[in-house]
Homo-oligomer: 332 residues x 2
């Protein structure tokens, strides 16, 4: 008797010799004191035997929820956001939720189909590294912001970038550095503003320390230029603090182009600790940002929000990882 299509709860009911509604009760876990243990066992048995899986569409229709959340990120091509997704997906799967990633605004644009955007059929949104107002148009949908301005109305999970920057400055100061250069990202995101502010504050707290800053796009070539401008200043910095590991790669290049050896002549730090950090030579001193945990914590908060709770905003600590790119300040 070939079962051509997936078994339904009615099939399970027939197999167990009970009614469909009983199956629903049992499998929904709401049978306490309403269905006899024997029946419960029979139902579970039948479901198992048939390999029954509830139909999500029907469930959604009935319940009005889809058990799907939208993960809005600038792109997945950057390993950072991939890790965020993986972390969120791990938590989501444990709760029967699926995650639809939405590279935004890249994917945007008119669709050929009238049933286009995934902005239907979702229960909530996880938005990473975006301004909160980018989420208008999704008004009314529960949202958790990741690595975004924690002063926003929505619950937020961020990295403790300020602590990270302070740790870098402490580390560098301990090595004797006083002239700092900031290779800064020109991207208009909270996380970079926070890094810049924290660095400026930390340096200002060190007697006799100075800070110069150059901005550039978040890619190797632009960072090389920005770092080069810093290194060509009359008062050359002895330490370059970069907003991101990728920018550190550019700083390396600028240094080499000027015959400066790292870390003998110049110390360089990064931020993120992605793959790149250990691929560079020398390996990069950087602040590890647990991207996977960010996604996981964000998903956890969103689940709480969906259940009517009020998740507190959280901050995940970064960790300074000291490698070979930082050393004692060169003797003049």
């Amino acid at each position: 008797m070939p079962m051509t299509s997936r078994p339904t709860s009615r099939d399970v009911a027939r197999e167990a010799g009970v009614s469909q509604s009983t199956v629903s009760l049992v499998l929904g876990g709401k049978w306490s004191g309403r269905v006899s243990p024997a029946t419960v066992a029979a139902v579970h048995d039948a479901a198992e035997r048939l390999g029954y899986r509830p139909n999500r569409a029907a469930r959604s229709l009935r319940l009005g929820s889809t058990r799907t959340v939208l993960l809005v990120v600038p792109t997945l091509t950057a390993p950072f956001f991939g890790a965020v997704h993986d972390g969120a997906a791990r938590v989501a799967a444990r709760h029967g939720f699926g995650i639809v990633a939405y590279p935004w605004p890249e994917t945007a644009g008119p669709a050929d189909s009238p049933f286009a955007a995934p902005d239907e059929a979702i229960d909530g949104i996880l938005a990473s590294s975006l301004a909160e107002d980018a989420m208008s148009g999704f008004a009314g949908t529960p949202v958790v912001m990741l690595d975004s301005d924690p002063s926003a109305a929505a619950p937020t999970v961020v990295f403790g970038v300020e602590d990270g920057m302070r740790a870098i400055v402490t580390h560098l100061t301990g090595l004797g550095h006083r002239r700092f250069g900031h290779v800064a990202s020109s991207i208009d995101q909270w996380t970079f503003h926070a890094r810049g502010r924290a660095l400026a504050d930390a340096v200002a707290a060190v007697p006799g320390a100075s800070l110069a800053r150059e901005d550039g796009a978040l890619d190797v070539a632009a960072a090389k230029d920005a770092a080069g401008r810093l290194l060509d200043r009359p008062e050359r910095p002895t330490a370059l603090v970069c907003d991101d590991d990728v920018m550190s790669a550019g700083a390396y290049k600028a240094a080499r182009a000027r015959g400066l050896e790292i870390p003998r002549d110049l110390s360089v730090t990064g931020f993120d600790d992605v793959l790149l950090a250990t691929a560079l030579e020398p390996e990069l001193t950087t602040v590890r940002l647990p991207a996977g945990e960010l996604g996981a914590a964000g998903m956890t908060a969103l689940l709480e929000l969906l259940e009517g709770g009020h998740p507190a905003s959280r901050s995940l600590p970064g960790e300074l990882v000291v490698r070979g790119s930082t050393g004692p300040v060169p003797v003049e």
Copy 2:
């Protein structure tokens, strides 16, 4: 009159003064010669006014299809797979499909919820860089394999890795190289087997050329070891062909550790052309693999498959990108 919840097709019908089924016909685009143009306009108008969006769950339930495909990848943390996702999502969005990424087997494992895996509620599968038999358990679901053994039963989109390897060997041979070392990935995937075979064949076709091979995991440290073993051989290779850009980073380190300068003393090539390639110093000569196009082409094929077609397997050409890591063979 506050519209508390989303408008349904019945609301649109009422607003337009027609029946609900007419709305369905019109919005479904199947009204040619069945509904008067005036009515059509009225319906569109009403839908627009109300901001109507069809309920996906109801659609799915009725149609039996979900307009969702599962993208199964080893991880999204590698930029390569992120790009595949972005490419697939772009095409999918244009056709009203959503993509849920499934990092596998990482996500696997028992779920707390009985409604766990996303292996329900999907129309098809895009599986990247996995063995075909990993997709058992999804039997009966249309599947397109990406960057996987094209001799499989399922339609496949692969990279022309063989051509890429040949291009590398031609390039290197033209520079005078004859002693090749292969820094090979020990990962058991079609794409790496193909690379190894193509390299061996290409070298064998060059009179007087030799090839040594060392395997390692796909990370910087392992690649450094493997490359080191190659460089420590009595007959040291003058060119190291790496299975992946990441492994090239390891090769760079092995070379530097031995005082070898790239490309003066040693030429190195990669494969993929991810971010890393231009972050290294000198920049890496490598074969660019269009990961985004792979995802897009795969999604296109899957769409065709879902419509009952028989998409042909395709091969996407890689492109040799010559940068600074390769140079003339050193004079002995």
